[in-house]
């Protein structure tokens, strides 16, 4: 058995030999290639450094739950500079299904946690200089999805912004954390203090059983609605909880002090409905939910409108709104809000069984030479029970029901444009 590296479309994720398997369900962008880790000495591996410090020169960083992952038998991979569990012994497929049916516990401590605070300035107003979201209109105790944009109207990152009363709390992607923080500092300091929290872990409890499980530790989480945030005591620690996630299921994201993370994780895993879930299933869950992965489905060139993320642009920030424009790339965004983008991110459902992975080139007929688009995320959807993908196609080809063709291993295979998500969300609105 040999890894496929015979075409560009597959080369990115494929370098697969059974002897030294990648073991990673997460597609890798350029410069994001991971390294293999063999835990020949579990005792050594178990020396976790809370706060994400690395124990070896240039080695990947470790989250406060690293030792627990190793103890649970996780297969670890380097993801965005962090040594993360890609799967547990249960395997990607069962982990995915378990999350949809019961509850999965994810370690997302590699993500960046940032607090924005100011004595004099209006922090929300200041942040609106960098994002097209309506931050000023975000009420205390609420969270909102936002995009950091650039002057060309592309996306620098996607993030969550929570109004926690006297400050804004941001969660950004691990791979973009450094760039985001530089961007926030350049755009907001000195009037706003940008504080990166190095000593907090981030856990996600996702799935239909998440509410019942977490309510055993803090009954008040039952009353939270989708995108509510609250400070809650969990297992004796101050937790910043939001009712949100990256799976399309109901659930919570939980920021806790690093030293409290393992105790809380063990307590949650003690519940018979909860299983630990790796990055592999995280990727297939978010793909079925139609959610973007930065660096793949959205990047510095794709615009919010093209990406189908116009909903993340507040009414107040649109042309004619109270605080219209005023963020990087507002010209392009405003224009596209009106006339649409040249291309559009769509759901792509291969009609056959073969998965169409990231990089598969899309054509509008079976034989033509001119590509019309490209798959940006794709694989097997365990809940769908077949292949699922997302990608960009010209606006004229973006209508659900349109048949396009993806070229897999030199063969054109039909793929249908479908509305996202593939799996309807289980949010508690």
């Amino acid at each position: 058995m040999a890894g496929r590296d015979d075409d560009d479309a597959n080369a990115r994720y494929a370098h697969l030999e059974t002897r030294d398997i990648c073991g990673c369900g997460v597609p890798h962008g350029p410069g994001e290639h991971h390294h293999h880790h063999h835990h020949a000495n579990p005792a050594q591996s178990a020396q976790s450094n809370a706060g994400g410090a690395s124990d070896e020169e240039d080695g990947p960083k470790r989250t406060p739950l690293h030792a627990l992952h190793v103890e649970l038998g996780a297969k670890m991979v380097d993801f965005a500079g962090w040594d993360m569990p890609v799967q547990f012994p249960m395997g990607v497929m069962k982990e995915h299904q378990h999350t949809r049916e019961k509850a999965g516990l994810f370690d997302v401590s590699h993500m960046g946690q940032v607090v924005l605070r100011s004595r004099q300035a209006d922090v929300a107003e200041a942040l609106e200089r960098l994002v097209p979201a309506d931050v000023s209109g975000l009420k205390e105790g609420r969270q909102r999805y936002a995009l950091l944009t650039n002057e060309a109207g592309g996306i620098e990152d996607d993030l969550m912004v929570a109004n926690r009363g006297d400050h804004l709390f941001l969660v950004v992607n691990a791979a973009r954390a450094e760039a985001d923080i530089a961007l926030l500092r350049a755009g907001l300091e000195p009037e706003v203090t940008v504080k990166v929290l190095e000593n907090r872990a981030l856990l996600a409890l996702q799935g239909p059983a998440a509410e019942a499980v977490l309510a055993e530790l803090a009954p008040e989480v039952r009353d939270m609605k989708f995108m509510d945030v609250a400070t809650v005591e969990l297992d004796g620690a101050e937790a910043w909880v939001s009712r949100s996630g990256y799976t399309g299921e109901d659930g919570y994201e939980i920021s806790v002090p690093a030293q409290a993370a393992e105790g809380l994780a063990r307590k949650l895993l003690d519940h018979p409905d909860v299983a630990p879930i790796g990055l592999g299933a995280r990727d297939s869950l978010r793909l079925e939910a139609g959610l973007c992965l930065y660096g793949h489905d959205i990047d510095t060139e794709s615009s919010p409108v093209e990406a189908g993320l116009a909903w993340a642009i507040g009414k107040a920030r649109r042309p004619g709104g109270a605080r219209a424009g005023g963020y990087p790339g507002a010209d392009r965004t405003s224009r596209e809000l009106d006339g649409g983008g040249a291309r559009k991110r769509v759901g792509l459902k291969p009609t056959g069984r073969a998965p169409m992975r990231e990089g598969v080139v899309i054509y509008d007929d079976e034989t033509g030479d001119s590509p019309v688009g490209r798959v940006t995320s794709g694989g097997f959807g365990p809940t769908v029970g077949g292949p699922v993908a997302m990608g960009y196609v010209p606006a004229a080809s973006a209508t659900p029901g349109t048949t396009l063709w993806g070229e897999v291993r030199g063969k054109r295979m039909p793929v249908e444009v479908v509305a996202l998500p593939f799996v309807s969300p289980g949010f508690k609105r």
Binding site: N10, G25, M93
Partner: protein, 120 residues
């Protein structure tokens, strides 16, 4: 049973026919298999030709022809239910049967003990 370094097993049957599949070790390493593409029956293949595509939740990989020969039968059941490859890789989930000129082509392959050694 004989084994290749590509983690295939080969079981000689009657009439110079050899059944080919992947080892339990390979199936375990691949993870959940979600797609299998088999060659056409009647196809003549050379050693190291890509004859099967197998995709797991993680990635795609090829299975190479372990010997020269003609594909005489394929296991459609694993196309219908790719998960069988994880359930019974060295039994029901064989991939194809290949007819070879000369069974001595298998002599250079690993036996049970050598393969166990090989995967450590």
């Amino acid at each position: 049973m004989k084994y290749t370094e590509e983690h295939e097993w080969l079981r000689p049957e009657e009439d110079n026919i050899v059944t080919v599949g992947i080892t339990a070790h390979a199936a375990e390493q691949l993870g959940d298999v979600v797609f299998v593409e088999l060659p056409d029956v009647g196809k003549t293949v050379s050693k190291d030709d890509e004859v099967v595509v197998i995709e797991s939740v993680k990635a795609a990989s090829d299975i190479l022809a372990p010997v020269d020969g003609e594909i005489v039968e394929v296991n459609e059941a694993i196309v219908e239910e790719p998960g069988k490859v994880n359930d019974d890789p060295e039994g029901d989930a064989w991939f194809f049967k290949i007819q070879v000129e000369d069974l001595s082509a298998l002599d250079e392959l690993m036996d049970d003990a050598a393969y166990k050694d090989f995967i450590g």
